[in-house]
Structures are given as C-alpha cells and as structure tokens.
Symmetry: D2
Subunit: 258 residues, 4 copies
C-alpha cells in the first residue's frame, strides 16, 4: 500500500474551503486555528487517512492533485480554470516526451499541468515578459516538484521562439495574434497552436492572423461548466456560476497552404 513518507507534500483537508498544503517533516508541527498536528505522526499512514489535531479536530491527509497544486499557487495573475486546462491538455495532443512552448508563464499554473503531461521524457519551454511573474511562477513550479521538466526564460516570443520543431504551442497572453508568425516557425509540421483569450476582439484578430499563415483546422470554442447540486430532492444546477473565462482557439500547422 502506498504510504505517506518524509518529504511528501500532503494536503490537509478540513473541509472544501479549508485545505493546507504542507511538506511532511518528522520534526515539524503544523499549526491551524483548529489546533496543531505533529507531522511525524502522519508518516507511514496511507493516503486518505484521518489525522487529529491537538484540539481533537479531524483532517484528511490527501495526496495533492495537480489541480490542488494549481489552486495553491502563489498568484499574481488570473489562473486558468480546470475546465479550460483539461481541454487544452487534450487538444495540444501532448504526452510523455512532447516538447511544448508556453507564453506567458503567468503564475505557472498551466505550466505545472503541462509539465505533468510531458514528464518524464518531455519538456515545457515557458516564456514570460514580466520578471516578477516569472519569479513567482518559478517558486510555484518548484514546489510542485515539476521544475525538472520546465525551462523558463524572460522573453517576448513575438520576437521569435528559440525552439524549433516543437509539438505544440499554447498562448495565454494579451496579443496572441502577434505571436502567430513565430509560433508557425517554432512548430513542427502538423503541430498544434492554441490561444486562450477572454475577449472576442482577441479571437477575431487571432483567427485573421492564423488564416494568413499555413494553418488549417482553425477552430474557436468556449467551454461552459455547470456545477450540479445533487440530491435530497433538491437537484438543480448551481444558482451562481462562472459565465465566461475565455475562448480557446486551436489550429494545426501545415508546411504550406495547398
């Protein structure tokens, strides 16, 4: 049975809104407003076990998921929603061994998900133009344990992308249409371009730019997620929902338009 060991990251779960990510250190006490826990006591327990604080309050010791790591990132920027990340990972068609370019890095949330998808044989090359963001992102990615699969650089990819023959490029930046030429140069033939953009004006400009370059299968979609409250004779979609995060535009590079 897979057990919790020294050095593991653990998500201490009190309830949906109150979770704490800690690194297990046998000599450390972790303090919450519900009492403290001796982290050494967790060692050797199975994941999902219940842990009691000094005040007798129970927590679950969960193994952090990628979405927990993202949720716990130190954020200077808006991070992508899980609904959009899942779509991006699948549409980019990446897997272990893929080489992916990302811009901008932002808080590194998507970078973490990309790195997890390409490990152990692939690599994420991520670019950011704001030094402060890159610094924050580096910390977040490091804490996720996925830094070995990531290369970061402070650079505006509109001026060119050093990597060539990459499998996929994903853009979460204000002016994705300006990066279309360098994206085409960097992608291998048949590779995937994807841009996430909150506004329709960005979408129109990006589509226009893609049409002026050898890209096919240009598509823009929007994903809407509804949470459903289930049970107790009160089943219904949630009253308040996120109505919009952004549009997702994808395309596939060809060598030349036929």
């Amino acid at each position: 049975m897979s057990k919790i060991k020294e050095g593991d990251e653990v998500l201490l779960y009190l309830d949906k809104k109150r979770t704490y990510k800690v690194r297990v250190d046998k000599d450390r006490q972790f303090h919450t407003h519900k009492g403290y826990m001796k982290l050494g006591d967790i060692i050797g327990k199975p994941w999902g076990e219940t842990i009691r604080s000094s005040l007798g309050v129970s927590f679950y010791a969960l193994k952090p998921m990628i979405k927990d790591l993202i949720h716990k990132t130190d954020r200077k920027t808006q991070v992508l929603y899980p609904k959009d990340i899942g779509y991006i990972l699948f549409q980019l068609d990446i897997g272990s061994g893929s080489r992916v370019v990302e811009a901008g890095t932002g808080s590194g949330a998507l970078t973490i998900a990309l790195a997890n998808a390409v490990r152990p044989e692939g690599k994420v090359f991520t670019y950011e133009i704001i030094e402060k963001h890159m610094k924050t992102a580096r910390g977040n990615i490091e804490r996720s344990g996925l830094l070995p699969y990531v290369e970061m650089e402070l650079k505006n990819i509109v001026e060119g992308i050093p990597q060539k023959e990459v499998d996929a490029i994903v853009l979460d930046m204000a002016t994705p249409w300006m990066a279309v030429p360098s994206a085409w140069e960097s992608l291998r033939g048949s590779g995937v371009f994807l841009a996430f953009s909150p506004t329709i004006e960005q979408v129109i400009k990006t589509n226009n730019s893609l049409r002026e370059h050898p890209f096919i299968e240009i598509e823009t979609v929007e994903l809407i997620l509804r949470n459903i409250n289930v049970g107790n004779n009160r089943t219904r979609p949630q009253t308040i929902m996120i109505g919009h995060s952004g549009y997702l535009t994808t395309a596939r590079k060809v060598m030349a338009i036929k």
Copy 2:
C-alpha cells in the same frame, strides 16, 4: 526535422469532413475518389506536407492526434466527446506511471486517451461485459499503437476489481452506482472516482451511493461546448450545437469518514 517514415500512421486530409488514416508502406497505393497516392512518395517528407493524388488533388499528410485516432475508431458504441475526455484526463489526475481502471471499455476511445496519458510507465486496466465490444475495442487500441499500456478483460466490475491501490477509476457504464463499492476497494487512499452518465437519475443514484461510502469532494458537473464561427463580420456561436452529452461525477477516496 521530424519526417514521415515507413510504418507511420498518417492522416491524409482533404478537408474537414474527408480525412483518411493510412499506414505508410512504400509499396502501397492508397485510392480515394480523388485519385490514388503512392505512399512511398510520402516517406522522408515533413509532417504537414502537401501530397498530390494521381488526379492532381492535394492532401495534407498530418500526424494523427489522439482525437483523430478516437474519431477513426471502429464504433459499436457512442464515444465520448473531446470536451469530456479532456475534463476526465485532468480530473483523474493521471500522468506517466499512473494505474487506472476503466469500465466499460466500449469502443476503446477513452482507453486510447487514458493509455496515452499514463505511458510509458503506467497501465490502463479496462473492463467490458460485452464480448463484441471488447473485440472491436482491442482492434481500435491496437491500431493506435497504445496496446502495450492496456490490459483488457471481459468482466463485470460490480463483482469486484482485481487491481488494488489504483490511482483512478473511470466509469462509463449504465449503472455506475452499483460499482461504487468495488471502486472504493480498488482505489488507493486519496484516489479519484469519476463516472460519466447521460441522465440525471444515474447521477442521483451515483451521488447517493458515493455518500454511503468513504468518499469526499463529491461533485457533479456538466460541460457545454460552443463552437464560435469567427470572422468576415459574421462572428457568432454556431446555430446548431450538442446540447448535452453527459454529467461528470467525481469523488476522492478517504480511508474512513471522519
């Protein structure tokens, strides 16, 4: 530059609606109603190159994506939409090395996506109760090249799942609530349960069953995808859309309810 070689699967792309998946064989001719192509001529060309048929019609030679492989599966059953597959892959929190259980296999579409996500170090254990489906699925998965990462068995998982300590379980079956007890037994602590169900009655029963077992973070969502037609002063969501595929219910195993 990555080039097309003997034995590669290629997607010959005429237009959005007319694509053909073929295996490159230097001695083979591939016939379409737009003329034939000598597949040997493609060898050594970069992915995304244009190929001309004997009738002078141009095709793109694309590297098949996972979603192309799924789209080209031989289908005896309804297959999941890409929007749902992306969400499933991310919520299952899998990556290279993960061990995942799936039931039922159906046409093997999701199996292919799961296998790609866990390769090269992980494994998908997929179960199906209808022999004909399993046979079709095996052919589909074999053609995808991902069979090394899949183990198939004709078995009703309601009666138990042989694998223990698996990282995630995904159910696309008529009565997911009946499989909740064996899913709990099979999962490692902190592992993810996910069920895809078209109807709300299935959702209610599955939620009720999950609540009677040590599962937390029980959530049901629905993903709605809108295609946007962009450009030429006619930007607008598409008139006809898929209004519903199914609900996605997720939960996380704990060792006992606190």
Copy 3:
C-alpha cells in the same frame, strides 16, 4: 408630447444601482443622499428629462417599466427573473381579455406582469396560502396601479380552483404536481398550464402528473441568460452569471386523451 403630471409614478435614476420610485406630488420634496428634489418641478417635463437635486446632482426622470415595478416590490419571497417572466407571458398565450389563474402569489411580481398583459379586459385570479405574503403582494400590486385587474384569495388551489374555463394557469409553488388535477378542472379546453420549479425532482413529478391527465404538448425547458459586456476591445460574456433559476414546464389541456 407625453409629459409628467401630478400623481404619476416616476423612477428617479442616478445610476444603474441607485434608482428611486416616487409618486409626483407638487408639494413634496424627495430627499436622497445626493440632495433633495422639489417634485413639483418635474410636473410638465417630458419623460426622460434630467432633474437636478439641491446639491446639483442630476437624475433622469424615467417612466417606470413593469420590470422596474417588479424590481421595486417589497419582497418576502424570491421573485422571478425577467427572462422567465417574458417566456411565461408568451407561452401562456394571454392578451387583453384573458382570464388567468396564478398560484402562489408570492410577492406579486409575476401577478403585476400578468395583470399588465390581460388589461383592460381580462383578470388575474391569484392564490396564496401564506397570509403575510398576500398582504405584501397586495401592497406591491396596488402601488403598480394594476389592482383593478387582480383578484386575490388566501387559498390552497390543490383543493380546487373556483374559476372555470380560464385561459391559462401558472404555478410557482413547491408542489405543482399536486395542483395538476384542479388545474385541469379550471382550464378551458386548449388552455395552457405552466409550472416554474427550481429542482429537477419537482419537474419529474409534475411531468408524471401531467401525463396522467388529459394534457398534451408537455414540455420542460430551461432558459439561460448571458449578459454580454460590449465594446472598447473588451467584448465578452460577463464573468459571473445566474446559472439557474428554474425549469419551466408547459402543457395544453385537451378534453380527453385520444
């Protein structure tokens, strides 16, 4: 030109969030935190004119719309959203002269909209079981000026509806399925039944009950409204939206099932 006169209800509009409904009285001053206005000064002005307060702040003098009257109701209960009211009015197929039954009255918001639709020749018969709600509703309807077109009664319509041969019945109550028999008795042949229900369990029970009575064209829909932020290169659906208010179930009475 239609002008504001003594006794008119006026909506003083500072901005989207700050509007005040007042009755014009030539001797009255209306005080706001932005200064007071002499209401006599508004008399003779056209609707839509700008009015200045004693502190030099400008307000628009708008003619209240039905949706303003509803928005300004004294509320003890959740009121219907405009998106649902518009759908209800059209589906009920009412117009001047129609006789409509409503239960429950709630705050009288829908009653006001119904009364406006059937005036001057029709009538709304509205039933409520909670005396406090009926009292509040009466005040709201009276202030809207539409009380002449409304008859109110404290009564549970599950026990029967006094009016017969009514054109339409609309239910916004916890157990609409229990009122299906008396609704059928009260409707004229070909008349419309409509129930608004937040939960899917209510919808299933109401559909089942309708199927056991001579009703045809039984339909359940859900209306989703998205606000679009337009312009300044930032056009996009609003981030936060109302994800669900309720389901709308309609049916048409026939004399007997063929």
Copy 4:
C-alpha cells in the same frame, strides 16, 4: 363553456409534427392523408375536443395560440424563436394601448406577437424595404386576425420614422446601428429601443451608436433555451439544441445625457 363556432381558426393536431390550421366552415371538408373531416361537425364542440377523420384517425381541435400562428406563417425569412419573442415583448414594456415601431417586418411573425400585446387600444407600425416580404407578411398578419392593430409601410426607417412619441422600437434588420438616430427621434422620452442581431459585429456597432446618442441602460444579452427530456429514468437535456439565434440589445431613451 367556450365552444368552437363557424369562422373560427382551429388547429387540428395529429401529433407534434403534424398540425393543420383551418377556418371552420360548416360546408367544408378538410382532407389529410389520414382521411377527411367535415368541419361542420366541429361546430359547438369545446376547444380541445377529439375529432375523428373518415378513416377513424383522431385529431385534437385546438384553439391556435400566437406561437401557432407564427409557426404557421408563410415564411420568406427566418422568424424569431419563441424564447426571443417572449423576452422582446417583456423588455419593450408594452401592453394594451402601446404604440410600437418595428423594422423590418420580415414574415410578420413578430408583428403578430406585438399586435396581440398592444390590442385593442394600441398600434404596431411596421416597416419593410422588400416589397415581396411585405406582401407575404400582410397575408400572415391578416390570417392571424390582428391586421386592425397594424400599419404597414414599404420604407427604410434609416431615413426617418413618421411616428413620434412611440413607446418602443424593435429592430430585426441587418444594420440596426444605422437606425439609431431615427429611433431616438421617434421614441418618447423613457421609451425602449431593442435590436435583435445574430452577429457580434452588429452588436458592437449598435452599442457604439447607442452610446453616441442619449440612451441609457444599454444592455446586450443572449438567451439560451434548453429542452429537457423528462421521465422514465431518462431525464436529461436534449442532445441537439439551437446554440444561437441572436443577441438582444436594449436601451432607454433620455432627453439628453446628463
């Protein structure tokens, strides 16, 4: 009890897809592929009664609703969906006695709904630039019995609207932004402007034009209707749905921007 009489329009209903609108004439036979009916036999029957054809097939004799009249219009143009018509009627804030301007008339579908809303004391002034459409619309409106409440003219309202001090204006035309100045001139203060537009480019231009004139409360929304299949343990939203019809932009005239 309200009964069917000579001269009434009746909707003969075989099933959801097969309905026939006929005028009751005691000497007429109505032929269908399921046999003929002597229309004289219907006279004196209650609405919603079952009628048998010469071949023993049963039909319901329904009183046509406004949405049936619209559904049965002779169509040269796309007609609005009920979901949008209900929203329009409520947002326009019209009722018996209102004076409304519409452009373009199209097939007259919305005109019929507007006329029903303003009768018996109001009037709809509808404008169309294509003579053939106006002719078709006149026939449709005449058959609905609502022509007394409608005035039609072949005219481009961009050049001006003859009526002044109207309560509301609704535009379903290709270039609504070009009609904003004449709409402002024609509306009374506090009156409502509404434009229905399929594309986002139309929406942006219309919003920009409204902002350059004395209009407040400028809002654009989109209404999405989901049909729910209910019951038999198969409750779920319909698989295929209308994903988009158009955006609805509303505003309110003020005399001058404060």
